[in-house]
C-alpha cells in the first residue's frame, strides 16, 4: 500500500521561502499568483493491507516524526494499492 503525506507550515507561521518564490513569480509577470506557501511531500510504501491500520500508523508517524507539532500541520492520503503487475505494466 502506498501513502502520501503532506506537511506544511501552519497558516500563522510566516514562510519566507514561499514569499521569495512568490516574488520571483511576480518578477516573471505571473500576476495571477497571489500567495505561495512551501510544504513537503513524503511518499511512503507500507507493508499493510488494512487501510484503517495504515491510517492509525500514519497518524502516529506524522505526529511523532514527519511534522513538527509547534509549527507544522499534516495531511495524508492512502493511494490506490499498486495494480497487479502480472499484466506486464511497469511498476
Amino acid at each position: 500500500m502506498k501513502a502520501r503525506v503532506l506537511v506544511r507550515l501552519k497558516p500563522e507561521v510566516s514562510d519566507p521561502q514561499g514569499q521569495a518564490i512568490g516574488e520571483a513569480l511576480a518578477t516573471l509577470h505571473y500576476d495571477a499568483v497571489r500567495n505561495v506557501r512551501v510544504g513537503k511531500v513524503f511518499d511512503l510504501e507500507l507493508d499493510e493491507t488494512d487501510p484503517e491500520r495504515a491510517r492509525r500508523a500514519l497518524e502516529r508517524i506524522c505526529a511523532q516524526v514527519l511534522a513538527h507539532p509547534v509549527v507544522e500541520e499534516f495531511d495524508f492520503e492512502i493511494l490506490e494499492a499498486p495494480a497487479d503487475r502480472t499484466d506486464g505494466a511497469k511498476p
Binding site: L9, V13, S14, P16, Q17, A20, V65, L66, H68, V70, V71
Partner: protein, 234 residues
C-alpha cells in the same frame, strides 16, 4: 568539573566546544558518540554542539533526537542534570521536547555568520550567574528563527525563561538587530526547571581574546561555579 560533549554525524562545532571547555576552562571533557546508550557516570554537564546533524534532513535536529544517546540525555535532564545546547544543539533540544518552540529558516533565507549583541534577560540562572548584562557572541546558522505559539510565548515570558535576546550595540531590541526574525528577538531559552539552556549564538567561539572575544567564557564560568561537583551531590 566534568562535561560530556555529544557528537552526532554532521556535528561540526564539537572540537571547538571541547577545546574551549578542556583547554580554556581546564575541565575534564569526554567526547560522547551518539550511538552510546548511556552517559558516563558523574557528569556535571552535557553539551550538544553546533553543526548539521544528519545533514539537517527532515528538519534541523529532527533525526538526531532519535539517536540512542538522546534518551539518556533526556533522562539526565529530567533528573536535574545541566544540559547546554548550542545552535544545532538548541534545535535538537526543541525537537527532543526538552525546550519549547522550533527553529525555522532565517527570515532573510541567508546563512548568517557574524557577531551579534545580546541582552542577558535572565541573570542568575546556572548559565548566567555573572555581572554582565550584555554579551557579544558569534552566530552561524541558516535556521535560527525562533517560533512558538502564542500561549507558549506568554508562558515563556511570564516565567522569565527567555534568557537571551538579540539587541543592538546600545542594548535596544530593534527589528534590524534581530538577525533571523525570531519571535520577541529570542536567542536563548531555558526550561522550567532552569537546568536546560538552548541558544543559537556560539559561546565556544568567543572564549579567548585572540579569537575576538571572551564573553562566551562567562557562561562556562557560571556553569563551573554552579555545578562543580554537582554530579557527586546528585
Amino acid at each position: 568539573m566534568k562535561a560530556g560533549v555529544v557528537v552526532f554525524p554532521g556535528s561540526n562545532c564539537d572540537e571547538d566546544l571541547i577545546d574551549a571547555l578542556r583547554r580554556v576552562m581546564g575541565w575534564e571533557v569526554e567526547r560522547l558518540w551518539h550511538k552510546a546508550t548511556a552517559l558516563p557516570r558523574e557528569l556535571d554537564l552535557v553539551a550538544l554542539p553546533g553543526g548539521f546533524s544528519y545533514g539537517d534532513y527532515l528538519r534541523a535536529g529532527a533525526i538526531a533526537r532519535f539517536s540512542p544517546l538522546m534518551s539518556a540525555v533526556v533522562e539526565f535532564a529530567r533528573r536535574g542534570g545541566a544540559v547546554l545546547g548550542v545552535c544545532n544543539g538548541f534545535q535538537i533540544l526543541t525537537e527532543a521536547g526538552l525546550l519549547p518552540g522550533a527553529l525555522l529558516r532565517n527570515r532573510s533565507l541567508r546563512f548568517l555568520c557574524r557577531d551579534v549583541h545580546l541582552r542577558v534577560e535572565r541573570p542568575g540562572t546556572i548559565f548566567t550567574d555573572f555581572e554582565a548584562r550584555r554579551l557579544r557572541l558569534p552566530i552561524a546558522h541558516g535556521e535560527g528563527r525562533y517560533v512558538i505559539d502564542r500561549e507558549g510565548l506568554a508562558r515563556l515570558e511570564g516565567e522569565g525563561r527567555v534568557v537571551l535576546r538579540y539587541c543592538d550595540a546600545a542594548g535596544e531590541l530593534t527589528e534590524t538587530a534581530n538577525p533571523n526574525g525570531s519571535m520577541a528577538s529570542i536567542a536563548g531559552v531555558v526550561n522550567a526547571q532552569g537546568n536546560v539552556l538552548g541558544m543559537m549564538p556560539h559561546p565556544e567561539r568567543a572564549s579567548e581574546a585572540e579569537l575576538g572575544g571572551e564573553d562566551g567564557k562567562l557562561i562556562f564560568g557560571s556553569l563551573e561555579r554552579a555545578l562543580s561537583g554537582a554530579a557527586a551531590r546528585r
